[in-house]
């Protein structure tokens, strides 16, 4: 029986090559998308699963209140970990961590290590990273101990064991003793450092303040259910602490579940987070594409049911039961989906490198080769086969044999309504995705073309450290010796993302008031280099810089440039502000030099807040404004100057506009992914439409023949054949609009600065859908209309 079904199934599929081809193409594409997205999701959802104590780990988020201003951040001071371990019995142990960039040298090998982590000695107790060599309890016990990951160890020491050797770390070449080698951090880990040094090395092991917040703190709880209890205790504890002092600055802490950080936390970890929303979006897109493929299958199969009717009729007369016929057709669709699965696995392997590039991951199909996933995939495929096959099977198996065999059988609307609904639904999905893509693209375009209040074009960004600082004046003059480098500045934060938190004050405000403000230490060339617009006062001068270069803190005089919001916060108009005295933090007395127009110094997700630029003689970045006429030439010249003056560090640079785009990497990526999948969805919908229209043209061959004999024009016949489909596409467009509008707005709400969803997006999306439908359908219609009528009539 089964063999017989298989045989008929294969022959049937083979005989109807067009329909089979379309279905195979559709299902394969759908499954390929699903598999790729499945791989991606599996990876995203598996983040930190390998941490065996992950459910007991909390990240500590600081919340600081200043008047009405409440801010939360993922940084804490060194005081949190020891205080919490001591004070709260729920805490088993705690750890402080921070990741920086270090130049590391061994013998004649020197590299810039961008993922150089410092962590307390509890590290290997709290986290489940495997130590291959060394003692997990001792490895980070003493200052200047360092553990290397396997691949980094190889980079410096080849196949020798590095344990017991010393590395020179940092610009001043401090000796660090290698105390262990660990397995590389898994790709699904929220921390992926290359070197891990003892926290005590930093020499900041103090418990003075909560406000010097530069570190990440994790707690290991004794019981995974004690999060809420501990949170209440923390709340109460800090309520008391805050009541004790009359500092207007209040602080408390919030626990965040470690295993929820990657997908649910608004605060970054050591590696970029993802958002569960994007996971949902992409999963939905996969499902929609699969739905389109299934609908195409259902449509083509039911449309072709007339052809199959005779076979069904005969089988029934001979004795086939309804269930057997049903089984036969479902079997056919499962066979087809299984074939598609095999094909799509091939495609996934082909496409994986490209997809990895797109998603910035290192996924491999091997991760799918677990018995569970294979079983799951097979079940899904069978379900899809059932889903796609069961309706046509139901229709076909219910045929009355006598009606069929008498030849009086016509496709009298069997499933016609369903077919129309499915076409509409496919187009709803397509139009929805087109509109969604347009909205996302226009917001991304807006982000990229937005006048931010500064000029991010042609600004080269280079790192700055203490050693470079010493040669900076020479480096600057070397750079600016050519006319292609216009100015060179120094800053602590890049203008794309300024986040240093300070408080400001001025004489005349009540004692103790401090206004929260974001501030960035810069030099006198900063405003010019990034092209800020001064609306009152004048730029910093060389003398202003000299004023802060005194050895003794008391002699330093600071100078400030405020943005409009900061001036307003202080109660000044831009003009009034100039020359006024103010303080930043507890000390730093100084004078306002200028007010600049508000500019976007963080992501467009956030509104513009008060900002202060102030003179200081240190920083983390060098910014060089270049003419952009001969970029490779300029960079080559800068590199040779760099090599001469900064021998300890390779010439590494980025462009400011890249740094800017990096802030939107999640959006840019989802934009790209959606583009591709929307295109696939539309293509699949068209494929279905193509199949259906070719079928309907074929069915109406005789009618068309007669009409032509009677004198109908080609245009008339095309109209007859296309009209219905176009109507459906139009209906779909109207249905899709409200959904797309609603979803688009919801997504945009995350941005403080955003585009409006304008009517033309809908107009374009709608016309696009209808035009695509029209083109697809008329290919068939034209073919049918041009055919010789004698042929179609004779073959009847």
């Amino acid at each position: 029986m089964f063999r017989n079904y298989l045989k008929t199934a294969i022959r049937n599929l083979w005989r109807n090559k067009t329909a089979t081809g379309i279905n195979l193409l559709g299902l394969t594409t759908g499954l390929t998308c699903c598999l790729l997205i499945g791989l991606y999701m599996q990876h995203e959802l598996s983040y930190d699963d390998f941490q065996s104590k992950g459910k007991r780990i909390a990240r500590v988020i600081m919340e600081y209140t200043f008047g009405a201003d409440v801010t939360r951040g993922n940084f804490t001071s060194t005081k949190v970990a020891p205080t919490f371990s001591r004070t709260f019995s729920e805490v088993e142990s705690a750890i402080r961590m921070t990741q920086t960039t270090k130049v590391v040298q061994y013998g004649d090998k020197s590299f810039v290590e961008k993922k150089f982590m410092y962590a307390d000695s509890t590290f290997f107790d709290i986290f489940s990273f495997k130590l291959l060599e060394g003692d997990p309890r001792q490895a980070l016990m003493y200052p200047k101990n360092v553990v290397l990951t396997k691949s980094v160890a190889k980079k410096y020491f080849n196949n020798q064991s590095p344990v017991g050797k010393t590395l020179k770390v940092g610009t001043d070449g401090v000796d660090y003793l290698v105390t262990g080698v660990m397995e590389d951090c898994p790709s699904n880990s929220q921390m992926r450092f290359d070197m891990l040094a003892s926290f005590s090395t930093l020499g900041v092991n103090q418990e003075v303040t909560y406000t010097n917040a530069n570190y990440t703190t994790y707690l290991l709880l004794k019981d995974k259910n004690s999060f809420d209890g501990l949170q209440t205790k923390i709340d109460n504890y800090f309520k008391e602490e805050n009541a004790k002092s009359n500092d207007p600055f209040k602080v408390t802490f919030i626990l965040e579940r470690f295993d929820k950080i990657h997908l649910h936390s608004p605060y970054e970890g050591f590696e970029p987070n993802n958002s569960i929303t994007y996971i949902y979006i992409i999963a939905a897109v996969a499902l929609l594409i699969m739905a389109i493929a299934c609908f195409t299958y259902i449509n083509l199969s039911t449309a072709r049911s007339v052809e199959r009717a005779k076979e069904v009729g005969i089988r029934k007369v001979i004795g086939a039961m309804k269930g057997q016929i049903f089984g036969q057709f479902v079997g056919e669709s499962i066979l087809l989906t299984l074939t598609s699965l095999v094909l799509s696995i091939g495609f996934v392997m082909l496409l994986l490198p490209w997809f990895n590039d797109l998603t910035n991951k290192q996924l491999s199909i091997a991760s799918l080769a677990t018995p569970f996933v294979i079983a799951f995939t097979l079940i899904i495929v069978v379900c899809i086969g059932l889903l796609a096959g069961s309706y046509p099977a139901l229709v076909l198996s219910a045929f009355q044999p006598i009606r069929v065999l008498k030849g009086s059988f016509k496709n009298t609307g069997t499933g016609l309504l369903l077919r129309k609904s499915l076409i509409v639904f496919q187009f709803v999905i397509s139009v929805f995705l087109i509109v969604g893509t347009f909205i996302i693209q226009s917001q991304l375009h807006y982000i990229q073309s937005k006048k931010l209040g500064y000029d991010r074009e042609h600004v080269v960004v280079m790192p700055l450290d203490m050693k470079i600082m010493k040669v900076l004046p020479v480096l600057k003059s070397e750079f600016t010796a050519g006319s292609d480098v216009l100015s060179v500045a120094r800053a602590t934060n890049l203008p794309t993302h300024i986040y240093g938190g300070y408080s400001m004050n001025r004489p005349g405000l009540p004692e103790g008031t401090e206004i929260m403000v974001t501030a960035n230490p810069v030099d006198e060339e900063f405003v010019k280099t990034v092209g800020l617009e001064i609306i009152a006062g004048s730029d910093f001068t060389r003398q202003d810089m000299e004023d802060v270069m005194h050895e003794e803190q008391e002699k330093k005089i600071y100078h400030y440039i405020l943005n409009e919001s900061a001036a307003k916060e202080m109660g000044w108009t831009p003009e009034e502000a100039i020359g006024k005295k103010m303080f930043l933090g507890d000390m730093r007395p100084g004078y306002v030099r200028a007010v600049v127009r508000d500019f976007h110094f963080t992501s467009l997700h956030n509104p513009i807040k008060p900002l202060v630029l102030f003179t200081e003689d240190w920083g983390r970045y060098i910014l060089a404004k270049i003419s952009g006429k001969d970029i490779p030439g300029t960079l080559a010249r800068m590199e040779s100057a760099w090599k001469k003056l900064v021998p300890h560090r390779p010439f590494e640079f980025s462009f400011l506009d890249e740094e800017y785009n990096n802030m939107y990497s999640a959006e840019l990526r989802i934009g790209k992914v959606l583009n591709i999948f929307a295109a696939i969805a539309i293509l699949l919908a068209c494929l279905g439409l193509f199949g259906l229209s070719s079928y309907s043209a074929q069915q109406r061959m005789k009618e068309i023949g007669i009409r032509k004999v009677l004198g109908a024009s080609v245009a008339h016949i095309i109209t007859i054949l296309s009209k219905d489909f176009i109507k459906l596409a139009l209906i779909a467009t109207l249905i899709a609009f409200p959904f797309a509008w609603w979803m688009g707005n919801k997504w945009l709400q995350d941005f403080t600065y955003r585009v409006n969803v304008s009517w033309w997006i809908f107009l374009v999306a709608g016309s696009l859908a209808v035009i695509i439908a029209l083109v697809t359908v008329s290919i068939q219609a034209v073919k049918a209309a041009l055919a010789n009528p004698v042929k179609s009539l004779r073959s009847e």
């Binding site: 008929t8 022959r11 005969i314 029934k316 007369v317 001979i318 309804k322």
Partner: protein, 225 residues
């Protein structure tokens, strides 16, 4: 074997009601060969479909082997049908995607006969129908007469007690037609009951008894000698 009384079949479409069978009564004994004749549209095919349990009547009684089957549901009818009745159609109705052998094998598959036994019986019957050499061909590769022989082979392979034939020679020339009639006569002589609809007086003469129908009723019976 078949005993029907006051059988009614009414087709309803939006505008008209067609009475296809009008209180028709009829009896067919085991081993009989009955021909049904009458003008086009008089209800012959309708009758045959009901006899073959492909369709249910709107009224009257239908005893098949002394069981009342008029009210049987589709499942029961299908079950009874596949074990007892074979069909031969004017337009052969072979499945184009299956070979001659597979077409004939099909009823055996549906009645659950084992594979080895199936092979034996299909070959036996193909041999009898002298179409063995064409066993691996597809229906389109055969002449009309050959196709009808395959259809007859398929109808008898399950050794049904009753064969219903609706204009079995309608699409055949006279020599191919005679061949098929000879096959049916042979089957009848081996004990199979046959009810055959035909427009041909010549073919009808192969039967024992001719039932003449008009407007859904039997009007005359000729007993052949």
């Amino acid at each position: 074997m078949i005993k029907i009384k006051d059988l009614e079949k009414i087709y309803r479409t939006e505008e008209v009601e067609t009475v296809a069978l009008n209180k028709l009564s009829l009896e067919v004994k085991e081993g009989e060969f009955v021909a049904v004749m009458g003008p086009s549209g008089c209800g012959k095919s309708t009758l045959l479909n009901i006899l073959g349990l492909l369709d249910d009547p709107d009224g009257g009684s239908f005893m098949f082997n002394n069981i009342e089957v008029a009210h049987f549901n589709e499942r029961k009818r299908a079950d009874l049908r596949k074990h007892n009745i074979g069909f031969v159609f004017q337009s052969f109705n072979l499945i184009d995607e299956l070979t001659v052998f597979e077409n004939v094998e099909l009823p055996l598959i549906y009645t659950g006969v084992k594979s080895a036994e199936r092979k034996k019986r299909v070959e036996e019957v193909l041999d009898k129908m002298q179409i063995m050499h064409r066993r691996n061909h597809y229906p389109q590769q055969l002449s009309g007469g050959q196709q009808q022989r395959v259809a007859v082979a398929r109808a008898v392979v399950n050794r049904p007690k009753l064969i219903l034939a609706d204009e079995p020679t309608g699409n055949l020339d006279s020599s191919n037609g005679n061949e098929v009639m000879q096959l049916l006569t042979d089957l009848n002589e081996q004990g199979t009951t046959i009810v055959m609809v035909t427009h041909s007086e010549h073919d009808a003469r192969y039967s024992h008894r001719i039932i003449r129908m008009l407007d859904g009723q039997t009007v005359l019976e000729n007993i052949m000698v």
